[in-house]
């Protein structure tokens, strides 16, 4: 199987993140790897760097990873996590400036066609 760009969904709410990932799986299938994370380290609403790092690692693809985020801290924490990825892999991870649910579905649809990370991001951001 040729690798596709993977998708990571980061929301303050684990329920929102998981729900968005479920929608992606149902609409796009298994060709694109999707990981999600949400919640602060105590299990409340929020986002945290450690779980974002773990989610990126979980679906790592040499072709790249597109990250969809909801509000403020989700983006800041995702940027921090991307910088902390080992081996300079952060260059192959991009945050899409798009609504989290619609963006994730659009990004995954584009990724399933074998598109580049730049194309996946552009599709999500076009929505």
């Amino acid at each position: 199987m040729t690798e596709n760009v993977s998708i990571v969904i980061v929301s303050h709410s684990p329920d929102v993140a998981k729900g968005a990932a479920d929608m992606v799986r149902q609409m796009v299938g298994e060709e694109v790897k999707v990981a999600w994370c949400g919640g602060n380290p105590d299990g409340g609403l929020g986002t945290n760097v450690e779980s974002i790092l773990r989610a990126i690692e979980q679906v790592w693809s040499p072709k790249g990873v597109a990250v969809l985020v909801d509000l403020g801290g989700a983006e800041t924490n995702s940027e921090m996590a991307i910088e902390m990825l080992s081996g300079g892999r952060g260059a192959n991870v991009q945050i899409c400036d798009a609504p989290v649910v619609e963006g994730a579905v659009m990004a995954a649809t584009e990724a399933a066609s074998g598109a580049s990370l730049e194309a996946v991001r552009a599709t999500a951001e076009d929505f």
Partner: protein, 200 residues
């Protein structure tokens, strides 16, 4: 000596955050997402728990380790922001500053890291509205008492500002009339640091 100072700084900072967690959350409920106090308390508790390990490191590395602890445990945007402040300061200063000028240079590096991380600057109703004037006062040779006054005045000035960053930005004009929670936590931490350094 440096080790004891680092332990005192961590103790005082985590103590003031714990004592004011509810107040910070109340400010954040007015114009943010209502988790600033809780998030900061979680991060500074983790910092207090790692205090011995951190204080055993050389000064610059200790600051970076403290910053990384906040990054990993706060669970909100303030984690990477305060984390970047400490990591930036730690990278700039191998040893504890001995003069105001050295301290100002160190803080300048930290403030630059916060600006880069938050893609922001002073005037957007954020922690930078306290940190930037405090850094300028330090660069001008201010002592602890003047630094505290500068921080308090800068914090008070955020009340009339309109937020252009974070969730408060969605509120536009409605963010006016409330103190910024990040500016408040910065002012609290600056007081804590001044209290410790004054007692040396």
């Amino acid at each position: 000596m440096a080790q004891e100072t680092m332990l005192a700084l961590i103790g005082r900072c985590s103590g003031t955050i714990a004592a004011h967690a509810q107040g910070l959350t109340a400010l954040d409920q007015a114009i943010g997402d209502g988790d600033h106090g809780l998030n900061m308390a979680r991060g500074f508790n983790a910092l207090a728990a790692a205090a011995q390990e951190i204080a055993a490191l050389p000064f610059g590395e200790a600051l970076q380790k403290a910053g990384m602890t906040l990054v990993m445990t706060v669970g909100g945007a303030s984690g990477p922001l305060y984390g970047s402040l400490l990591i930036g300061m730690g990278k700039a200063a191998r040893e504890m500053p001995r003069t105001s000028a050295e301290a100002a240079a160190m803080l300048d590096a930290g403030v630059a890291a916060v600006k880069a991380r938050g893609k922001s600057d002073a005037g957007a109703k954020t922690m930078l509205d306290v940190l930037v004037p405090v850094q300028a006062a330090l660069a001008a040779g201010a002592g602890p008492a003047q630094i505290r006054e500068t921080a308090d005045a800068a914090l008070a000035a955020t009340r009339d500002m309109r937020a252009t960053k974070g969730r408060a930005a969605f509120l536009g004009e409605r963010s006016v009339g409330h103190l910024d929670p990040g500016a408040r936590s910065s002012a609290l931490l600056i007081h804590a640091v001044c209290d410790v350094l004054e007692g040396l």
